[in-house]
């Protein structure tokens, strides 16, 4: 399998070529083009009843498309629904995990287990969505952010404060707390009061723009 990320940071996409029998899994609807012989199947994330429940509760997509090469030289291209940056993360082993916010997942190699996970009570305040996607196993995941993506390596000492909505993905070796900065009034009226304080040793990826930000900005101009 050969993979290539093209078009960052404006219109990032993932281009792949597959040998016969090789497979890639991708976000529902992300395929933009592929060679004529490729096989397409679909797969449920986790168990079907659980997936349907999450769909109803969180409105998350519960399916991935499975794209399998048939002839030598078969290829496909995948793009996120929003313009922005496509990133890559390698997972090395059955206990290696990577957290992505809902909507950030683009594609993965088939060895990866994907599970949706409730982010807990604090996630209701984070505006990152209440559901996280956890990738686990050996292989590669590709994910996307709206805007440019900034990758930070935390050293276990210095925390990173991120405005809610800007988090894209992080390693499970770091964790966050929701904190209010300023008083209750400032928090309620500024929309800037709640921040996520990440601490630990590992990687975190943030995006320079947020879709809810655009959605809130645009209607006043329409």
């Amino acid at each position: 399998m050969q993979t290539n990320i093209v078009g960052n940071p404006d219109f990032g996409s993932l281009e792949i070529s597959l040998d016969p029998g090789e497979e890639i899994w991708a976000e529902s609807g992300a395929m933009s083009r592929m060679s004529g012989q490729m096989q397409v199947k679909s797969k449920v994330l986790g168990s079907l009843p659980g997936a349907l429940l999450r769909r109803m509760v969180a409105g998350e997509s519960v399916m991935v498309g499975r794209y399998q090469g048939v002839q030598p030289g078969d290829f496909a291209s995948f793009s996120p629904g929003l313009p922005g940056t496509v990133m890559e993360h390698t997972l090395n082993g059955p206990d290696d995990r990577f957290f992505m916010t809902a909507g950030a997942f683009l594609a993965c190699t088939p060895g990866i287990k994907l599970k949706l996970k409730f982010g807990g009570l604090r996630s209701f305040f984070s505006s990152e969505g209440v559901v996280l996607l956890v990738a686990r196993g050996t292989g590669t995941v590709w994910y996307n952010g709206y805007g440019a993506c900034v990758e930070k390596q935390l050293d276990g000492v210095q925390p990173l404060v991120v405005d809610t909505g800007h988090v894209v993905a992080w390693e499970p070796t770091i964790d966050y707390k929701i904190k209010g900065s300023g008083g209750l009034k400032a928090t309620m009226f500024s929309g800037e009061g709640l921040t996520m304080h990440f601490q630990g040793t590992g990687k975190i990826v943030v995006q320079t723009r947020t879709p809810p930000g655009l959605a809130g900005w645009l209607p006043f101009r329409m």
């Binding site: 093209v6 404006d10 219109f11 933009s32 397409v40 679909s42 399916m63 793009s79 629904g81 959605a215």
Partner: protein, 231 residues
């Protein structure tokens, strides 16, 4: 040969058409964003040759067969410039229509073309409905240069052994190719669960221009975040 410069390729591309005296260029009437003072713009309505009967009327209704087009020429025997840009973000590409390579553009992708070319809106049959695209394409007729715009990056792919394109990513294709609208996977259930639904399967030999992103999916994604419309 009209001299064209594509400026700021990428997210906010624009095209600058340099008109020599006696040359003309046309575009969708809304695409012009700047021009020299000596350029005259004449708006015409592009119509297909009328076909009678109920089917003819139905096709005209469905295919939105009239468009306002503007034709730019200089009035004083001096050269002039016309700047053209699409409404949405994305790139612009220049293509040539020749006897060997005759292009068919999807509805919103044609930005402008050299005078002498003409556009023939062609009804694609009811398969157009299922493609999720406007059920019409523009046959580019004649020989000359023209511009297409895309949501995202534009790539031209050579097709010899078949290509499957998601319906929201098609910009244009050459006439040596045929396509069928079909399910992405073998079964109906898999097709829809894979999220692709219907795709266009091209066969034959030719070229296809595709855009990296799908404005329809952008809209769908953003709609989840937008406040509900009032009224």
């Amino acid at each position: 040969m009209v001299d064209i410069e594509i400026h700021h390729p990428g997210v906010f591309a624009g095209a600058l058409v340099k008109l020599n005296p006696g040359e003309g260029y046309f575009s969708d009437a809304g695409a012009m964003y700047r021009m020299s003072a000596n350029v005259n713009s004449e708006v015409t309505i592009l119509k297909r040759q009328g076909k009678g009967g109920i089917m003819g009327a139905l096709k005209r209704m469905l295919a939105r067969e009239s468009f306002f087009m503007a034709t730019y020429t200089t009035t004083d025997g001096q050269p002039g410039e016309v700047g053209l840009a699409p409404t949405h973000q994305g790139d612009i590409m220049s293509l040539m229509n020749t006897q060997q390579e005759q292009w068919v553009c999807s509805g919103g992708s044609f930005l402008g073309g050299q005078q002498g070319l003409s556009l023939d809106p062609s009804f694609q049959g009811f398969k157009g409905f299922f493609s999720g695209e406007a059920p019409f394409y523009l046959n580019v007729v004649g020989q000359g240069q023209f511009l297409v715009n895309g949501y995202g990056r534009i790539q031209v792919l050579d097709v010899t052994e078949g290509l499957t394109v998601d319906t929201g990513h098609l910009i244009a294709f050459t006439q040596g190719l045929q396509y069928k609208i079909s399910k992405a996977a073998k079964g109906f259930i898999s097709s829809f669960l894979s999220g692709e639904g219907f795709v266009m399967r091209f066969t034959g030999t030719g070229k296809i221009a595709v855009q990296s992103h799908d404005s329809g999916r952008f809209g769908e994604t953003m709609r989840k975040y937008m406040p509900p419309r009032e009224g």
